[in-house]
């Protein structure tokens, strides 16, 4: 199994699978709201607006076709969250799954955290492939035998059964957030995790549900003075005392939990001065960071704002080390994007396994990959038309100038209802999961 080598230059991406309903009429509950591979990449979890979690498992590579990596098939489906009603505030709490994060595997079972706006749940997903048979006192269907008929002693034995995957909620972490939860992140100590809402970040222990520590609180004494909110937060991949949180003002703060119990004072603040040429009504909206992700190495972090992806070196706070324009052609369309609400879309971003390539979504079911080494970027489309098995994806191009070349698409023809907000990259291989509104596309690199 080769690691993702030189990046997108030598990689040819091929369609592998698509999951989800084929019809154009999208049921709102089926809208995918989060996608996440587990630490081995064997499992792929999706959450949707209806509060369900669907987990796909990669089939082991078959000996017949060693070139093909295993397909992902449904492993488990369960209802994680239900709609709730807050009677005090007369507010409905949506069941939409905002984030899923896997815990590192410790035993045969898998654990994941899933969250909606207010409540985080720890789910245990376990397999059952044998069951005890031959009870002394019970019939096979479970009814107790008449004691008079019991004349021998036998010990039950385990016999194989059809595989059953069970998901059970092991912990419910509730009532800790006044505002809407936007992020959860498991600590590298594998014991704690953080949850972030618009104004506060809480630290939990995975075993303890009735209390959490508040580690960041940016709520002003007077809410009229509110100028920024927290938009994303993540723990460092291996420094268990370090986490970052991004804000709606385009800043990222790195905090060290050793410094104090309440990390309102940041250890580092990453901010790039605004380009005065680009000022507009909407400058503040488009500078709001929608996602922040540490690199696997822990040396860099990536942020996504409306038009760009920025890579920051943790050692340099003054500006990012790399900036990639995702869809700069939208800068002149911000007013229309404001009117149709697209300007509020929160795109996520992700790293590949060796941090050489980053990926993020765009409109018209386009997604973009930026190769950091080769300085090469590519745009692909996730669509049913390109869905022949193992067909190689053709790079797409948006024409920005007056003259539109063949095969290019003009900015005005882009479908802004087809957006890719959530993408995930397999931690070890060149396999990516890309979520359109209600479908999940899986692409792989062409092997040999």
């Amino acid at each position: 199994m080769a690691g993702p080598g030189g990046g997108s230059s030598d990689v040819q991406w091929c369609f592998s699978q698509v999951k989800g309903a084929m019809d154009d009429d999208v049921a709102e509950a089926d809208i995918i709201s989060t996608v996440e591979f587990n630490h081995s990449g064997e499992l792929l979890a999706t959450g949707d607006k209806g509060g369900r979690v669907v987990i796909f498992q990669q089939e082991p590579e078959s000996k017949n076709q060693p070139q093909c990596r295993g397909e992902y098939n449904v492993y488990s489906t369960f209802q994680s969250h239900e709609p709730e009603f807050d009677y005090l505030k007369s507010l409905e709490i949506e069941e939409k799954i905002n984030k899923i994060r896997w815990l590192p595997q410790k035993n045969a079972a898998q654990f994941l955290l899933s969250t909606n706006d207010k409540t985080i749940k720890l789910w245990k997903i376990s397999e059952r492939d044998k069951r005890p048979e031959g009870y002394n006192l019970k019939e096979e269907d479970g009814r107790y035998r008449d004691p008079n008929t019991v004349t021998t002693l036998r010990v039950p034995v385990f016999r194989p059964m059809d595989l059953m995957v069970e998901a059970s909620p092991r912990r419910v972490f509730a009532n800790a957030h006044t505002y809407h939860i936007n992020s959860i992140s498991v600590n590298s100590d594998h014991e704690t995790y953080l949850s972030a809402d618009d104004l506060r970040i809480n630290l939990w222990h995975l075993e303890i549900t009735d209390r959490s520590f508040n580690i960041v609180d940016i709520k002003p004494a007077n809410m009229e003075e509110l100028t920024e909110v927290i938009t994303a937060a993540e723990f460092h991949p291996y420094q268990c005392n370090t986490f970052v949180y991004s804000s709606s003002k385009g800043t990222i703060r790195l905090c060290d939990m050793r410094a104090s119990a309440l990390c309102d004072t940041h250890a580092k603040m990453f901010e790039e001065p605004e380009d005065p040429n680009n000022r507009s009504f909407f400058s503040e909206i488009i500078s709001s960071i929608s996602d922040v992700k540490f690199s696997h190495s822990g040396r860099y972090m990536m942020t996504r704002d409306y038009l760009s992806v920025k890579i920051w070196d943790l050692n340099m706070e003054t500006r990012p080390v790399e900036t990639y324009q995702v869809h700069e052609y939208l800068r002149s369309k911000l007013c229309s994007l404001y009117e149709n609400d697209c300007i509020f879309d929160k795109f996520e971003c992700c790293w590949n396994g060796n941090d050489s390539v980053v990926m993020t979504g765009s409109y018209n079911n386009f997604f973009r990959m930026f190769d950091r080494g080769y300085r090469h970027d590519v745009t692909f489309e996730a669509s049913r038309e390109n869905s022949k098995p193992r067909s190689v994806l053709k790079p797409r191009k948006v024409s920005t100038g007056g003259k539109r070349k063949k095969d290019e698409i003009s900015v005005d023809s882009l479908d802004f209802n087809k957006k890719i907000l959530h993408t995930a990259w397999h931690p070890l291989d060149n396999i990516i999961a890309v979520a359109t509104t209600n479908n999940l596309y899986i692409f792989q690199d062409k092997v040999n």
């Binding site: 505002y179 007077n222 809410m223 100028t227 709606s248 909407f282 007013c335 404001y338 009117e339």
Partner: protein
Amino acid sequence: MSATTAMEVNIEAKRILAVSISKLYASRTQRGGLRLHRSLLLSLVMRSARDIYHASRECEAPSEAQSAPEEPMDTGSSPEEASRQPEPQLATSGAETCSDSEEPASDAEEYDCEIAEDKENLSPARQSRKRRGKASAAPDFLPSKRARLEPGEERHAAPLGSCRAGAGDSLTTLSLNRVIPAF
């Protein structure tokens, strides 16, 4: 800035303000309740639009700079008065926006929130202290009554025409400051 460009910007700013207010209303009925982040971004856009609107009006009507700088100030501490003297243009533009913005202001009025600021700068008609619903019921971080005047100062009823920059702002101040305290 030429007159036409200023007017275009003016119209654009007003349009954006109107779009923003309608978005604010729409977000009230969204499932899951008001989203703080979205509301904050909307209020920032409205603030930008308001600032640009005022700036463009200032350019558009420099000859109308015959405000009433001697208008009684409700919170009439002298430093404040002195600082407002150099801005007669804004005061007048404020007067005009006041009448223009009557409609959106009254729409904003129906918005289920308490007025937290500038109570005394509003006309009596607007100074409704009626609580308008559960959603606005006394968030604990907002004082329901605030002593805005220095001891010994009188509270003047602000006549409708005597808009200063503050009142011109009051349209959007109203909306902006209602957005956040809604939480």
